[in-house]
Symmetry: C2
Subunit: 332 residues, 2 copies
């Protein structure tokens, strides 16, 4: 199978290669694509080095599966060419996610959409939306969810490899007494945190928050689900966390919530009150699961439950979910 | 005026000295007190060095004002001696905060309690509760607050000077490739975050969360205010942030909320959507104000408003508020 990875040198592209390898995705021929900036570099895959090719329409000739992770502009420009070449296209950008005819897929939740989606791009959701829906979806079996309030703690990986590097470099500089000189982010990230860097829109929410809200509604098939999200960037490398308040249609117990989550594919319950051991980036980073804990009844609302989750932004939040989508598509 | 500072070598004690200096508190005689561990050290105050004295009952002889910041156990043991010596006692610990007869004071909110509080200790609230109430109190003039949901982003300073040092040391180690070796905190803090280190209680909330909830209710004079708080420790040095969802009794506009906050003493409105410039630890650290922004109507609830705040945990969250209380007490 000829597999193209667009944006192969980026933070997500790099992880896509690792996930394709570790899950033994049936790649017979890899087509690593990137912008001219990366021309001349190579990527390693299954023990071999592959020269990075410059992204072009022609690069998709004979490609069976194309995984895009190079931003919405490039997806809009090049995904049609990949489709025209007959490739199954999984797009990690926001370009098509909210198009009515485009499936927005988290395989554990709505993988069935892939069976009859016809000849369209399949969209990989926003990272924070994937992690959130992985937990909200099982909870829908407990009772109807009537309202959700979320605060995120988002790592720098969501802004790409250069942002992760900026966190490290700037932290080093801070420890040496240097003034920070932000480049990727608007504000210093070392030992700091700030409202997510996406532009603020008319409604006062930033673009990231609106993505998480709209995509969560779409993935769960609840277009009118009342939800409000605050997205915050924190000085962490690659796993996101979310504090989530879920209001149900009836009073639910902590046990019901735990039972609904425990053992669900891709979800790991970690709710150890005695040892104060709950989900955190260090546990989630590098792994496939979304960790969830701090499950407790909201003392301020009889029908609400509080919980806290953490998941690797680059894996389940991006590369892993994209490859899982590809697996379903090539097997169906 | 003879002023004792108990826990003078700690993170908060150090700031109390700086605040007493900068606000020209009428100190004629400083009595710096700490545990035997600090014996032999000195502290500087108004350009002079003072030997640190070991905390004892006798140390309060002739003391007019005693500011305690050495933990609840020491406050319970030594505050009575300070009171017996005739001192006005302001206690930064949690020892007495929820006692019905003890005033729990944020001067901008309920400083009037100090006029007739008689011969009792005055309690300085939990840092996150102070910052939260500084914003919720002005909002009470807009409409009745019916429910509050809070997620915190709490800096290491709340766990003391050694915790701040652990963040720096561990970060340095991480950058050199060392495995973290947590001592103050249970879990690694460098490039990580975790549920607040306070023990989890019967109700599933940790001790910090219960403090913030109960103290917010007491300070606002709303003992039954529905409130739920999630407290999270983040790799930041000395300013806390809080994402706050406030549900009112009626639909309120963003303009009403901004008008209620703008220009209030101790509150700084920073809500610059165009430049994505909102409260963050780097702005709040080292200053007296609680910064507030990200004010927007909750898209999931017609009567709710979202906002984000940041304040220096050591200043308004602790030392500054304590000295402000002392100022009111000595002037009344």
């Amino acid at each position: 199978m000829r597999v193209a990875v667009v944006g192969v040198t980026g933070a997500v592209g790099t992880e896509i290669l690792r996930v394709l390898e570790s899950r033994n995705f049936p790649v017979t021929d890899l087509v690593p694509l990137a912008s001219p900036r990366s021309a001349g570099t190579t990527v390693s895959f299954n023990g071999k080095e592959f020269p990075v090719q410059v992204l072009s329409r022609e690069a998709f000739d004979g490609v069976d599966v194309a995984l895009f992770s190079a931003g919405a502009t490039r997806s809009r420009e090049f995904a049609p060419a990949a489709m025209a070449a007959g490739a199954k296209v999984i797009d990690n950008s926001s370009a098509f996610r909210m198009d009515a005819e485009i499936p927005l897929v988290v395989p554990e939740i709505n993988g069935d959409l892939l069976a009859n989606c016809g000849n369209v791009v399949v969209a990989n959701p926003n990272c924070a939306a994937i992690l959130l829906t992985m937990v909200l979806h099982p909870l829908q079996s407990v009772a109807n969810i009537e309202r959700v309030v979320v605060s995120t703690y988002q790592s720098t990986s969501g802004a790409g490899a250069l942002a992760m590097e900026e966190l490290l470099t700037q932290t080093r500089g801070f420890l040496e007494g240097n003034e920070p000189d932000p480049a990727v982010f608007e504000w210093p990230i070392a030992f700091n945190l700030f409202s997510h860097n996406a532009s603020v829109e008319e409604d006062g929410y930033n673009g990231e928050e609106n993505k998480v809200m709209e995509e969560t509604q779409k993935i769960l098939g609840r277009p009118a689900l009342p939800i409000s999200v605050t997205c915050v960037r924190v000085p962490v490398l690659r796993a996101h966390c979310e504090a989530v308040n879920v209001e149900f249609s009836r009073e639910v117990t902590e046990e019901e919530v735990r039972a609904a989550l425990d053992g669900k594919p891709g979800v790991r319950l970690q709710d150890d009150r005695e040892n104060n051991h709950f989900p955190m980036p260090r546990s989630a980073a590098g792994g496939d699961d979304v960790w969830v804990g701090r499950i407790r009844r909201d003392k301020g609302h009889p029908r609400a439950i509080e919980l806290f989750l953490s998941g690797d932004q680059l894996l389940k939040g991006a590369a892993l979910n994209a490859v899982q989508i590809a697996e379903v598509m090539v097997n169906s």
